[in-house]
C-alpha cells in the first residue's frame, strides 16, 4: 500500500533537527521511515554509533520518543531487558495505560550488528522477544574513522584496508547478515533501501506489528566513508538495488520474496545494471578505475554480486 506523504507531514517526527549527523546522511531519514510507519507508541534502544552519538550530545537530544543507549555491542540485550520490564509491569498492573500498546525498536550500525553485537542480537532473536532490530548498514566503522567491518563490500578502500602497492582494498566479500538472521526463523526479516519509501515503510510497519522478533537491514550510504557528495544518498540507494548490490528481500514466516526493483529485475521487467554503475559513483572504489582500470578485480566483484543475487533469487523461488 502506497504511503501518502500528505498524511505524514503534519505528524510529529520522531527525530528533530539540530542533531550532529553529517550533512546528507540518510540515517535520520531511515529512523523517520521506520518509526513513522505505525502510530503505536515506540520505545527505542540505540547501539553506540553515529546515530547515537550525533543525536544525543548532552544536554541536547533529538529524540521525541523514549530512548535508551547502553553500549556498542548490546542493543539486542538492552531491548530484551526493556521488553521484559514492560511485560512484567504489564502483569503487575503498574504500566501506564498509554504504554500498554508500545512497540520496541533497536537501532544499530553494521559494526554494532554484523560484528560486535551479533551475539547479543542472535540471543535476543532466539529468545523471541517482541521487538524490531534495525541495522543501518553503512558498510564500515564510519563513526570511528572508516575502518572495515564484516559489512564492508569487497574492493572497498577503508582506513584498515587501505589501497596500496599490494592492496586493492578489502579482499573479502560481505557477510550475509540477512541469511544469518533468517536462520533464526523469526517471523519477519527484510532488506530495505531508503529511496523506496513505500517499500521501506511497508516493511517497517509489518516488522513492527508482527508478533515476535523482526529485523530490517537498511542500505545506508555514508558521505565521508564512501567519499560521495552530500546529496546523492538516495540516488545511490536506487542504483544499489538496480545493480543487485542491494537486493530488496522480504522473509515472512520463512517465505522468501523479492520486492520493488529487485522483483522487477528478477521477473525480467527491469534491466540489471552492471556493478560498475554502482562502484564508479563512490570514492571508496576509485582505485578500481584510476589510474588504470582493474578489470580482474571488477570481475571478482561482479561475480560476487551475481553469486549473492542468484542466491536470493533462488531463495525467492525464481528459476533461471
Amino acid at each position: 500500500m502506497a504511503v501518502i506523504l500528505k498524511n505524514e507531514i503534519n505528524k510529529q517526527v520522531p527525530l528533530n533537527g539540530g542533531h550532529r549527523m553529517c550533512p546528507g546522511c540518510p540515517v535520520p531519514v531511515i529512523v523517520k521511515q521506520v518509526l513513522m510507519s505505525t502510530d503505536h507508541p515506540k520505545i527505542v534502544a540505540n547501539a553506540t554509533g553515529c546515530l547515537e552519538v550525533a543525536t544525543t550530545i548532552y544536554p541536547y537530544t533529538s529524540w521525541n520518543v523514549p530512548w535508551i543507549h547502553n553500549a556498542f555491542e548490546n542493543a539486542g540485550a538492552t531491548i530484551s531487558g526493556v521488553v521484559a520490564a514492560y511485560e512484567a509491569m504489564k502483569r503487575s498492573g503498574e504500566l501506564p495505560e498509554k504504554n500498554k500498546d508500545a512497540k520496541f525498536i533497536a537501532f544499530g550500525g553494521d559494526g554494532g550488528t554484523y560484528d560486535i553485537g551479533l551475539q547479543s542480537l542472535s540471543g535476543a532473536l532466539e529468545r523471541g522477544h517482541n521487538f524490531l532490530y534495525v541495522c543501518y548498514d553503512n558498510e564500515g566503522y564510519m563513526n570511528t574513522g572508516i575502518q572495515r567491518s564484516s559489512a564492508t563490500p569487497i574492493g572497498a578502500n577503508t582506513t584498515t584496508t587501505p589501497v596500496g602497492k599490494k592492496s586493492w582494498g578489502k579482499t573479502q566479500p560481505r557477510k550475509d547478515l540477512l541469511s544469518i538472521v533468517a536462520a533464526h526463523h523469526i517471523p519477519y526479516a527484510a532488506s530495505v533501501a531508503p529511496h523506496d519509501y513505500n517499500d521501506s515503510m511497508a516493511k517497517s510497519k509489518k516488522a513492527i506489528e508482527v508478533n515476535g522478533p523482526s529485523f530490517l537491514v537498511y542500505f545506508s550510504p555514508c558521505i565521508p566513508g564512501w567519499k560521495i557528495a552530500s546529496d546523492v544518498s538516495f540516488e545511490l540507494s536506487k542504483i544499489a538495488v538496480q545493480t543487485c548490490f542491494w537486493p530488496l528481500v522480504e522473509i515472512e514466516n520463512g517465505e522468501w520474496s523479492l520486492t520493488g526493483d529487485s522483483k522487477r529485475i528478477a521477473e525480467g521487467k527491469k534491466e540489471k545494471l552492471p556493478i560498475e554503475d554502482f562502484l564508479k559513483t563512490q570514492g571508496r572504489f576509485k582505485h578500481l578505475f584510476k589510474p588504470k582500470l582493474q578489470e580482474d578485480v571488477l570481475k571478482i566483484i561482479q561475480n560476487d554480486i551475481d553469486k549473492s543475487w542468484n542466491f536470493y533469487k533462488k531463495m525467492a523461488g525464481y528459476t533461471d
Binding site: 520505545i43 534502544a45 547515537e52 552519538v53 544525543t56 550530545i57 548532552y58 544536554p59 537530544t61 529524540w63 521525541n64 520518543v65 523514549p66 530512548w67 535508551i68 543507549h69 547502553n70 553500549a71 555491542e73 548490546n74 539486542g76 540485550a77 538492552t78 531491548i79 530484551s80 531487558g81 526493556v82 521484559a84 520490564a85 514492560y86 511485560e87 512484567a88 509491569m89 502483569r91 503487575s92 504500566l95 501506564p96 504504554n99 551475539q119 547479543s120 542472535s122 540471543g123 532466539e126 529468545r127
Partner: protein, 391 residues
C-alpha cells in the same frame, strides 16, 4: 516472625531472598559457583512462585545489559554472577552505576583467571571496586540472605540510587549448608516496600537515557556519583537500625568480635572471619587477648569508622583474599590510607590468603595470631605484606 530455621546453602539463601523480593526482571547467565542461585530461581519461576520475567541471556555481558535495560524501563531488576562473568560484563557494570540504576546483583566471589580456577577469592569484586557500585560482603548464608533485603533498600534510596553487589564466598558459602532463619514473605514485602524510583522509559514525557556526555558535563555527572557515595553510609546505618528493630537482627557496617579488652585484632571480610572467630575463641582460652574486626562494606569504604575502631589496638593484621600485584592488597591499602592522618597508629601488617580457594584453616589463623603477637611486641614486621599458606 518465623522461628523456623531452614538448612540452606548460601546460594539457596540468595535465591530465596530473590524470590521474596519478587523482582520484575531477572536476567542471568550461568557460571560456577553462581549456578545454584540461577537454578533455584528458575524453579521458582517454573512453579509460578514469583511474578518475575526471567531472561535467560546468552552471556554475562547481555545479563548486565538486559538488567540495565529493564531497570531503565522502571523494573526492579536483578542478576547474579561470578569471576569471569563479572569480567565479561565489565563495561556495563560501570554503565549501570553511571546511569544510577538501583540494581542488586549477587556476586559469588571466585578467582578471576588465570590459570582458570573456579574457587573462591575476591579478585573478581576487588577489580570492580572503582566501578561505582556499592559492595557488601557476607560472612555466611544468613548474612547473604539478610543483606539482599537491605541492599535493595540501599540501592533504591532516593539519596543513593546506585547498584549494589551482595558478595558471598564461592563454594565456601555458596555451597555449604547452614542454618538460616528466613523471614516470612509478607515481612519482606513490607520491609522492601514499593519501588520509589521512576520508570525512565514509561514516563509521561519521553526521556533520553544514556546520551553522549563530553567535556561539558561529564565531570558534573561524576561529581553526582561521588556525592551519592557520601550518602551511602548514613543510609545503610538507618536501614540496618530499622532491620534490627523490625526483625531483631543486628548488623553493623563494621562488626567487632571480642575486641573489648583486646590489644590486637585480625581484620578481614567474608567467610574467613568465621574461622578467625573460632580460633580467637580457642586463643582466648589460653588467655591471649585477640579480637576480630570485620568490615561488611567495602564500597564506599568506611574509612573514618575503621580508623576509629582500629586505633584502639596496638597491632592489626589484615587478611586480603586478593592481591593487587605491585601494590597494597585492597583492604590493607584502604586501611593504610584511612590511618594516614591519624595521630595514633597501630602496627599494621598484611597477609594475602585463600587465593583460588586455598583453604585458610585453623592452623594458618593460629600462625597469623602468633605473627600478630610478634608484631605487637616488636613492631618488626610493620608494613610488610606476606602470603599466608604458600609453599
Amino acid at each position: 516472625m518465623t522461628t523456623k530455621y531452614e538448612a540452606l546453602t548460601g546460594a539457596e539463601a540468595a535465591a530465596l531472598a530473590m524470590k521474596q523480593i519478587n523482582p520484575d526482571v531477572v536476567a542471568v547467565y550461568p557460571i560456577t559457583p553462581q549456578t545454584p542461585i540461577v537454578m533455584k530461581f528458575s524453579e521458582y519461576v517454573a512453579n509460578g512462585e514469583v511474578d518475575t520475567e526471567m531472561v535467560r541471556v546468552e552471556s554475562e555481558h547481555s545479563a548486565m545489559s538486559a538488567t540495565v535495560g529493564a531497570a531503565g524501563a522502571g523494573a526492579r531488576a536483578m542478576t547474579a554472577t561470578a569471576a569471569n562473568g563479572l569480567a565479561l560484563m565489565w563495561e556495563i557494570v560501570y554503565i549501570a552505576a553511571s546511569t544510577r540504576l538501583p540494581i542488586v546483583m549477587g556476586l559469588v566471589n571466585r578467582a578471576l583467571s588465570g590459570p582458570i580456577n573456579i574457587h573462591c577469592d575476591h579478585s573478581d569484586s576487588m577489580g570492580a571496586r572503582d566501578s561505582g557500585w556499592i559492595q557488601i560482603y557476607s560472612e555466611n548464608a544468613q548474612e547473604v540472605y539478610d543483606n539482599y533485603f537491605m541492599a535493595l533498600r540501599i540501592a533504591e534510596h532516593k539519596d543513593v540510587l546506585l547498584p549494589v553487589m551482595v558478595c558471598q564466598d564461592g563454594f565456601i558459602t555458596s555451597h555449604s549448608v547452614e542454618n538460616v532463619l528466613p523471614l516470612e514473605d509478607a515481612q519482606v514485602k513490607k520491609f522492601i516496600g514499593k519501588k520509589n524510583f521512576k520508570g525512565l522509559l514509561t514516563s509521561e514525557k519521553p526521556y533520553t537515557i544514556g546520551p553522549l556526555d563530553l567535556q561539558d558535563y561529564y565531570m558534573e555527572h561524576k561529581m553526582q556519583q561521588h556525592d551519592a557515595m557520601k550518602h551511602v553510609i548514613p543510609v545503610i546505618e538507618k536501614i540496618q537500625k530499622e532491620y534490627a528493630e523490625t526483625f531483631d537482627r543486628k548488623y553493623e557496617i563494621i562488626e567487632e568480635y571480642r575486641t573489648d579488652d583486646a590489644d590486637m585484632v585480625i581484620v578481614g571480610m567474608s567467610s574467613v572471619m568465621g574461622t578467625v572467630k573460632d580460633v580467637i575463641d580457642m586463643m582466648r582460652e589460653e588467655g591471649i587477648k585477640v579480637g576480630a574486626v570485620k568490615p561488611r562494606l567495602f564500597r564506599p569504604f568506611p574509612a573514618e569508622k575503621i580508623k576509629n575502631v582500629l586505633s584502639k589496638f596496638k597491632a592489626i593484621i589484615i587478611l586480603d583474599r586478593s592481591d593487587s600485584f605491585g601494590s597494597f592488597p585492597p583492604l590493607y591499602g584502604e586501611i593504610l590510607a584511612s590511618f594516614f592522618a591519624a595521630e595514633k597508629k597501630p602496627y599494621i601488617k598484611s597477609f594475602i590468603h585463600g587465593l583460588g580457594g586455598r583453604d585458610t584453616n585453623v592452623e594458618m589463623i593460629k600462625e597469623v595470631i602468633s605473627e600478630l603477637q610478634k608484631l605487637r611486641d616488636t613492631g618488626e614486621s610493620n608494613f610488610t605484606i606476606d602470603y599466608l599458606g604458600v609453599r
